[in-house]
Amino acid sequence: MRERLVALRILIGTYALVYTLARFPEIVAVTRLPESQFHPRVGIAFFWVDPFFVIAIAGTTCVLLVMFILGWRYRDISGLTALGLTFTFSYRSAWGQIFHTENLLVLHIFALAAAPAADREDTGKDYASWVKLLAALTVLTYVGVLPADVDRVPASAAGGGAFLPLLPVEKLLQRKLRL
């Protein structure tokens, strides 16, 4: 199971690197938008940051992702990689449009960052549970779509109450399938 976790690190890390590089021109483009169009408090993009630093962080994140894929100094860099990726995509989403396609990627990189995903040999750790965690995150991220059904949310719960028990899952599924 260690090999599977390592393979997932390489695959997801490579996807993250290719995705970030492909979006790089767009990341540069948003840094040139007027500051007045910045929407703070999206993810960890709490405030407007000078374009130089945004581009520097995105570039550094790409370098860290290469190290992440190679498993080089993994313990030192994996957390920073996850933070760099989260900041880069939070900032990209902080201009009025959240890019939901990046949610799961960031969550997976975070989970891998906490996992022993660069072990060179089996040290008896519970590798399988980390692989299961990645799968569970995938499912949970999209199951989260189901209760997002504003029509059925009682007004009293609109502020963030526990409305979930009021919403039978099968009815939600039926409704989603109609959309």
Binding site: Q37, W95, N103, S129, G144, G160
Partner: protein, 138 residues
């Protein structure tokens, strides 16, 4: 414990107001309401010397992302007038520098209201209210 914590954190949107989106933990509000076929949105149009309308690409608003361009126009129309003026002027400057739009002489930022099926299937354009117009200076 780390794994259970990760799952709990990712499940947090389940108990959050579904209208409040965030990143990377989203409530996916775009799936939360029935979708009417009528769409109202703000966007820019090019105008040629003969008065014909030309669709513009989102790059001319300063972003390659369609949805981000949508948000930029939405913000500008609802925000202070100078923001709208600046977006129009900057878009016009990009149009002036792009040979593909050499026939465009002015930019109109409009609020359009279209029936999506009529527009996409039958080519029927709905109503468009002009918010601002600026010349393309070459």
């Amino acid at each position: 414990v780390k794994k259970l914590l990760a799952l709990a954190v990712v499940a947090l949107p389940l108990i959050r107001d579904p209208r409040v989106d965030d990143f990377p933990l989203s409530t996916y509000p775009m799936f939360a309401e029935p979708r009417p076929t009528t769409l109202a949105m703000d966007y820019a149009l090019g105008v040629t010397a003969s008065g014909a309308r030309r669709m513009l690409s989102p790059q001319l608003a300063g972003t390659g992302e369609v949805l981000q361009a949508y948000a930029l126009f939405d913000d500008a129309v609802r925000g202070p007038r100078e923001g709208l003026q600046r977006l129009c002027t900057e878009s016009a400057a990009r149009v002036a520098a792009d040979d593909d739009y050499r026939d465009v002489v002015a930019i109109r930022i409009v609020t359009g209201r279209h029936d999506a099926v009529d527009y996409l299937v039958r080519g029927t354009i709905g109503t468009e209210v002009e918010r601002i117009r600026c010349q393309v200076l070459r």
